[in-house]
C-alpha cells in the first residue's frame, strides 16, 4: 500500500498538470477559431457567408468553448497549485 501511494499521487499530479496545460491552450484554440471570420469573404463579394451561417458558426463555437471550459473546470483539482518546478525554473533563469 505504501509503495503504491506515491505512484498514485504522481500519476494524478501529472494528469493535473496536463489539464492545466489544456486550460491554457483552450483560449488559444478559441482565439484561432473566432478569428477565422476575419478571413471570410465579405459584403457583396462572391462566397461571402450569409449572416445566418455566420451566426451558427460563431454561436456554435462559443457554446462548444464554454462546454470545454466547463469540463476542464470540473476536472481540474481546486487544490492544485502552479507546478512549482516550472515556475522555479523560470525564476532561476532570470
Amino acid at each position: 500500500m505504501t509503495d503504491r501511494r506515491p505512484l498514485f499521487l504522481e500519476r494524478s499530479s501529472y494528469r493535473q498538470r496536463r489539464l492545466g496545460d489544456a486550460a491554457r491552450m483552450l483560449p488559444v484554440f478559441g482565439g484561432v477559431l473566432m478569428m477565422l471570420p476575419a478571413i471570410w469573404q465579405r459584403g457583396e463579394a462572391e462566397g461571402a457567408p450569409a449572416t445566418s451561417s455566420a451566426m451558427i458558426y460563431v454561436f456554435g463555437g462559443w457554446v462548444a468553448l464554454s462546454v470545454a471550459a466547463f469540463v476542464l473546470a470540473r476536472w481540474l483539482d481546486p487544490s492544485v497549485t502552479e507546478p512549482s518546478g516550472d515556475a522555479a525554473g523560470s525564476t532561476r533563469g532570470r
Partner: protein, 892 residues
C-alpha cells in the same frame, strides 16, 4: 398603452426592491450567514456588469448599423474568461495575497508602490470612465423619453436633463449608502454585489424575453427568422477583418482593465474557486446576451419607421407591438444594466480617487496624522463619498456637454481603448519581472497621450476641441501628427488606427525603458512577489484544516514562548472555546491573541508574518518584510548598545582594579609609615632619654659638654614638635577645621617669604620669572607654607649636579599658575599617583621628612579653591600650583 406614471411607479418599486436586497445581503453578511452570498453563481452574475446599457440597448443599434461586428465586444471577454488559467487567476491570486483594492492599486503596488503611477492610472480611469457613465445616464433618459412619446396621455417630456439628474442623484445615494457603509480591509461590498447579481438576472431575462418575443412572436420561429435575417440588409457577412481583430482584442483587454470589472472580478472575489464556474458560465451569459441581438435588429429595421433610433429597438419594438408589459420589463432590464454599471464603476473610481489622490494629499498635510486610526477612517469614508458624488456629477456634466447625441457604441469603444492603456503595465507587471516603474510610467504616458490625441479628443467631433484643420492637416500643419494618420500612414479605420498606435507605443516604451533602466529594490521585491505569486501562496485553505493549523501554530508558539507557557496558553484558549485538550479552533480572536502574545517576543511585524504564513490567510506583504527588517535593525541597535554597555563595565572594572591596587599600595605604605613614624619618634626620644640620663647621673660634666648635650636634647625635642605639628596640621586641614585669613597680597611677597624661610642659600639655585606682580586675595601664611614645602622638597630631593629650581608664574583663563620645576631626575611614573597621599615617601632615602608635606599642600590648595598637581614631561620634578585669581575661596 404604457403610461409614464406606471413606468415611474414600477421603477421606484424596483429600486426599493434592490435596496431591500442590498440591505438584506449586508445584514446577512454581518451576521455571518452569508454563505449563499459567497456562491460562485453570485460571483459570475456580478461579472455581468460588463454588460451595461450599452450592451442592452446599444448592441442592437450597433448590429443595425454594422452587422455582426458587435459580437467582438463579447467574444473578447469570453476568450479571456475561458483562458482564466492565464491572467485572471493570477490577478485574483495577487489581489487576494496583496490586499489589492483597485487596478490603480495593483499597478502602483507592482511598480514599487509608486504614488505617481497610482495617480496616473486613476486620472486615466476617471477620464475613460466618465463618458461611459454619461452613456448610462443617456440611455436611461432616452428610454424614459421613448416611453413618454408612446404615452398619449402625457405631454411630451420637455426637459430630459432633469431625468438624467434625478437618475444620477438616486444612483449617488444608493452607492454612498451601500458602497461606503463599511471600510473593510478587503473592500468587499456584499450588498452591492448581491444587488448587481439580481440586476444581472433581470437584464438577461428581459433581453431574452424580448428576443423570444421577436423570434417566435413576430418572426415566426427560428427558421423563418434566419431567412428573414439573410434577406435583410444585414444578410451577408460584412465585418472588416481589421476591426474584427482589433475590437476583439480591445474588449478582451477591457475586461482585464476596466476599473469596474477589476472591482467585481478581483476585489469582490470571495474564493478563487469561483473562477472555475465563471470560466464557463460567464461566456455562456455573454453568449445569451448577444444571441437575440441580430434578430431584434433585423425585425426592428423591418417593422419600425425609418429614422427610428435603432439603439432603442429593444424598447420601441414591444411598445410598437402593444406589449406594454414586455416593454416595461425591457425598460427595467436597461435600467438595471445602467444602474449596476454606474454603481460599481463609481465605487471603483471613488476607491481609486480616495486612495491614490485624496488620501496622499490629506496625509501629507497632516504631519503624523496617520497615527490616529479612527480619525483616518472617517476621513477615508468622507473622501469616498465625496468621490462618488464627484464621479457621478462629472458623468452628468459630460452628458450635458456632449448633448447625448453620439451613437452609444462610439463612446463605449473610446472608453474601452482608454482603459486598455493599462494592459501593457498590467500584463508586464504580472508576467515579466523585468518590467519596471519607469517603463510603466512612460508607457502609460505615451499610450494615454496617443489615445487622447487620436481617439478621445476627436470623439467630440470636428471643431469642438480639435479644429477641422487640425484633423485634416495635423497640428500647426505638421502632417505626420494628424490624429487619424499618425506618421503619415493614412487610410486606416480611425479606431483601429488609434488602438494600434497607442498600444504599440505604450508597449514599446514599457519594454524598451524597462530593458535599459534599473528598478529600485522595492520594485524588484514586488515584481518577484507578483510574478511568482503561485510559488508563495498555496490555494486558499478552508477551515477544514483548522486543527492542523492549530498544531502548526502550537509548534511555532512553543518555539517562541517556551513549551510550558505555550501549552498553557493554548489549553486556556481551547477551554474558553469549550474544547478539551490543547488545540483550540484557529478563530480570528484566538489568532489575534496569539499574534499579540508572539509580538511581545518577536515584534509585531514578525508575529504577523509568521501567523500569516501558517494560516495562509494573507501572504507576507512588502510592508511586513520592511517591518521585519526594521525590527531586525532595532535588535541590532540593541545589541550594539549592549556591547557599548559591556565595554563600559569592563572600563569600570579596570578602574576598580586600579583603585584596588592603589589601596593595597597605600596600605603597604601606611604600614611602612607606621614603622617609620615610630622610628622617627623613637630616635629623638631615645637620644633625649639617653642625654638627659647622662646629664642627670654624671654631675662632673664640663659646661661645654653639658651645653652640647642639652643642645642635642633641645634639637631633638624641636624635631618631635615639628613632626607632631605636621600631623596636627594635616588632621586639621583634612577635617576642614582650618580658618583662613584672607587678604590682598602680591605673589612676589609670598614667594620672597617662602624663599627666605627655606634659607634659600644652600646648593639650590632659584630661577624666578613670570608675572610675580599679580595681586591675590588669599591666605598668605597657608600659600607660603605650600611654596616652602615645594622649595624644600627640591632642596632635599633634587639630585642634580648643580640643582636648580625654576619658579614661573603666569595667568591663564582667570587662573594663577605657578610651576616649580627642578632639574633632577623627577619622579617615576608609577609613583606620581602616590606622592600626594599621606605617609607617602618616595624611595627610601633618608631626608628627614615624614611624608606629609605634599599631602598637606594638597589639602591647603583644596581649601584655597585651587589645586596642586604633578607636572610630568619636564626635565625634572615639576609641580603646578593653580589658584583662581578672583574666585571665591572654597573654605569658609
Amino acid at each position: 398603452m404604457a403610461s409614464l406614471n406606471l413606468l415611474i411607479f414600477v421603477s421606484l418599486i424596483y429600486v426599493a426592491f434592490l435596496f431591500a436586497v442590498a440591505f438584506g445581503a449586508e445584514r446577512a453578511a454581518l451576521r455571518g450567514q452569508g454563505s449563499w452570498l459567497r456562491s460562485p453563481l453570485v460571483y459570475t452574475l456580478s461579472l455581468s456588469i460588463y454588460c451595461t446599457a450599452w450592451t442592452f440597448y446599444g448592441a442592437v443599434g450597433y448590429a443595425a448599423r454594422s452587422g455582426m461586428e458587435y459580437l467582438t465586444i463579447y467574444l473578447g471577454p469570453s476568450l479571456v474568461m475561458i483562458g482564466w488559467f492565464w491572467a485572471v487567476r493570477k490577478m485574483v491570486r495577487i489581489g487576494r495575497s496583496q490586499n489589492i483594492t483597485s487596478i490603480a492599486d495593483l499597478i502602483s503596488s507592482r511598480y514599487g508602490k509608486s504614488t505617481l503611477l497610482g495617480v496616473l492610472v486613476t486620472v486615466l480611469a476617471v477620464v475613460g470612465t466618465t463618458p461611459y457613465i454619461a452613456l448610462q445616464l443617456q440611455s436611461v433618459t432616452l428610454a424614459v423619453a421613448a416611453f413618454s412619446q408612446a404615452d398619449v396621455t402625457m405631454r411630451p417630456l420637455g426637459d430630459q436633463n432633469s431625468t438624467a439628474l434625478w437618475v444620477a442623484a438616486g444612483l449617488a445615494f444608493f452607492t454612498v449608502l451601500f458602497g461606503t457603509r463599511n471600510l473593510d480591509a478587503n473592500e468587499r461590498h456584499h450588498g452591492v454585489v448581491m444587488a448587481v447579481a439580481v440586476e444581472a438576472v433581470v437584464k438577461l431575462f428581459a433581453l431574452v424575453a424580448v428576443g423570444v418575443f421577436v423570434v417566435w412572436g413576430i418572426g415566426g420561429g427560428v427558421g423563418a427568422t434566419l431567412e428573414r435575417i439573410d434577406a435583410s440588409p444585414l444578410g451577408t457577412w460584412s465585418v472588416a477583418p481589421d476591426r474584427w481583430l482589433a475590437l476583439t482584442a480591445l474588449s478582451a483587454a477591457a475586461l482585464l482593465c476596466l476599473p469596474r470589472m477589476f472591482q467585481v472580478m478581483v476585489v469582490e472575489n470571495e474564493e478563487e474557486r469561483h473562477l472555475r464556474t465563471a470560466s464557463w458560465a460567464f461566456p455562456l451569459y455573454l453568449m445569451a446576451m448577444s444571441l437575440f441581438v441580430v434578430p431584434i435588429a433585423v425585425v426592428g429595421l423591418d417593422l419600425m419607421p425609418a429614422g427610428e433610433n435603432p439603439d432603442l429597438f429593444v424598447l420601441s419594438l414591444p411598445l410598437a407591438e402593444g406589449r406594454s408589459g414586455l416593454a416595461l420589463l425591457s425598460f427595467l432590464g436597461g435600467f438595471s444594466s445602467a444602474t449596476s454599471m454606474v454603481i460599481v464603476a463609481s465605487i471603483a473610481l471613488s476607491t481609486m480617487v480616495s486612495n491614490h489622490i485624496v488620501m496622499p494629499i490629506w496625509l501629507s498635510r497632516q504631519a503624523g496624522g496617520a497615527m490616529v486610526s479612527g480619525d483616518v477612517r472617517s476621513v477615508v469614508l468622507l473622501s469616498r463619498r465625496l468621490s462618488i458624488v464627484g464621479v457621478l456629477l462629472l458623468g452628468y456634466f459630460y452628458y450635458r456637454v456632449s448633448g447625448g447625441s453620439t451613437a452609444l457604441a462610439a463612446i463605449g469603444l473610446i472608453s474601452f481603448s482608454g482603459v486598455a492603456q493599462f494592459l501593457p503595465a498590467l500584463l508586464g507587471g504580472i508576467f515579466w519581472r523585468g518590467a519596471n516603474r519607469i517603463g510603466a510610467l512612460a508607457g502609460l504616458l505615451i499610450g494615454g497621450g496617443v489615445w487622447l490625441w487620436c481617439l478621445f479628443l476627436p470623439s467630440f467631433g470636428p471643431g469642438v476641441i480639435l479644429s477641422a484643420e487640425t484633423m485634416a492637416d495635423g497640428p500647426f500643419g505638421v502632417g505626420w501628427l494628424r490624429p487619424y494618420a499618425l506618421f503619415g500612414i493614412a487610410g486606416l479605420d480611425p479606431l483601429v488606427h488609434g488602438v494600434f498606435w497607442s498600444l504599440l507605443l505604450n508597449t514599446t516604451a514599457l519594454v524598451g525603458l524597462s530593458l535599459f533602466t534599473f528598478p529600485t529594490p522595492m520594485e524588484r521585491l514586488q515584481g518577484a512577489q507578483f510574478v511568482n505569486v503561485f510559488d508563495h501562496t498555496a490555494g486558499a485553505r478552508g477551515w477544514s484544516g483548522g486543527m492542523a493549523q492549530s498544531e502548526d501554530l502550537m509548534i511555532m508558539a512553543q518555539r517562541i514562548l517556551g513549551a510550558a507557557e505555550a501549552q498553557e496558553m493554548f489549553r486556556r484558549a481551547a477551554l474558553a472555546q469549550g474544547l478539551e485538550g490543547y488545540l483550540p479552533e484557529p478563530t480570528a480572536d484566538f489568532l489575534q491573541m496569539l499574534e499579540r502574545d508572539l509580538a511581545g517576543s518577536v515584534g509585531a511585524a514578525t508575529a504577523h508574518a509568521m501567523i500569516g504564513q501558517i494560516t495562509g490567510g494573507a501572504n507576507i506583504s512588502v510592508e511586513d518584510l520592511m517591518a521585519v527588517a526594521d525590527e531586525t535593525a532595532q535588535i541590532m541597535e540593541h545589541s550594539s548598545q549592549l556591547e557599548a554597555k559591556s565595554a563600559e563595565l569592563a572600563r569600570t572594572a579596570r578602574q576598580l582594579r586600579a583603585a584596588n591596587e592603589k589601596l593595597t599600595l597605600l596600605s603597604v605604605q601606611k604600614d611602612a609609615f607606621l614603622s617609620q613614624i615610630s622610628h622617627e619618634l623613637r630616635t629623638p626620644m631615645t637620644s633625649i632619654r639617653a642625654f638627659s640620663e647622662i646629664l642627670r647621673e654624671s654631675g662632673d660634666l664640663d659646661v661645654t659638654t653639658r651645653t652640647k648635650y642639652s643642645g642635642i636634647i633641645h634639637e631633638e625635642a624641636e624635631r618631635l614638635t615639628r613632626l607632631l605639628d605636621d600631623l596636627l596640621d594635616l588632621s586639621v586641614l583634612e577635617n576642614a577645621q582650618v580658618r583662613l585669613t584672607l587678604a590682598e597680597v602680591r605673589l612676589r611677597a609670598i614667594l620672597d617669604r617662602a624663599v627666605a624661610a627655606t634659607g634659600a642659600s644652600g646648593r639650590l639655585r632659584l630661577v624666578r620669572r613670570g608675572a610675580e606682580e599679580m595681586v591675590l586675595n588669599t591666605d598668605m601664611d597657608r600659600l607660603s607654607q605650600v611654596f616652602i614645602n615645594l622649595i624644600s622638597n627640591a632642596q632635599k630631593y633634587c639630585d642634580a649636579e648643580s640643582p636648580e629650581l625654576t619658579i614661573s608664574a603666569r595667568e591663564m583663563d582667570g587662573l594663577l599658575i605657578v610651576d616649580f620645576v627642578d632639574n633632577g631626575t623627577g619622579i617615576a611614573p608609577d609613583s606620581q599617583a602616590l606622592i600626594f597621599e599621606k605617609f607617602s615617601r618616595i624611595g627610601h632615602q633618608q631626608a628627614g621628612g615624614a611624608g606629609l608635606g605634599l599631602a598637606i599642600c594638597r589639602e591647603i590648595m583644596a581649601r584655597l579653591g585651587g589645586s596642586i598637581t604633578y607636572l610630568p614631561g619636564q626635565q625634572g620634578a615639576g609641580f603646578r600650583v593653580t589658584l583662581p585669581m578672583h574666585g571665591a575661596m572654597a573654605a569658609q
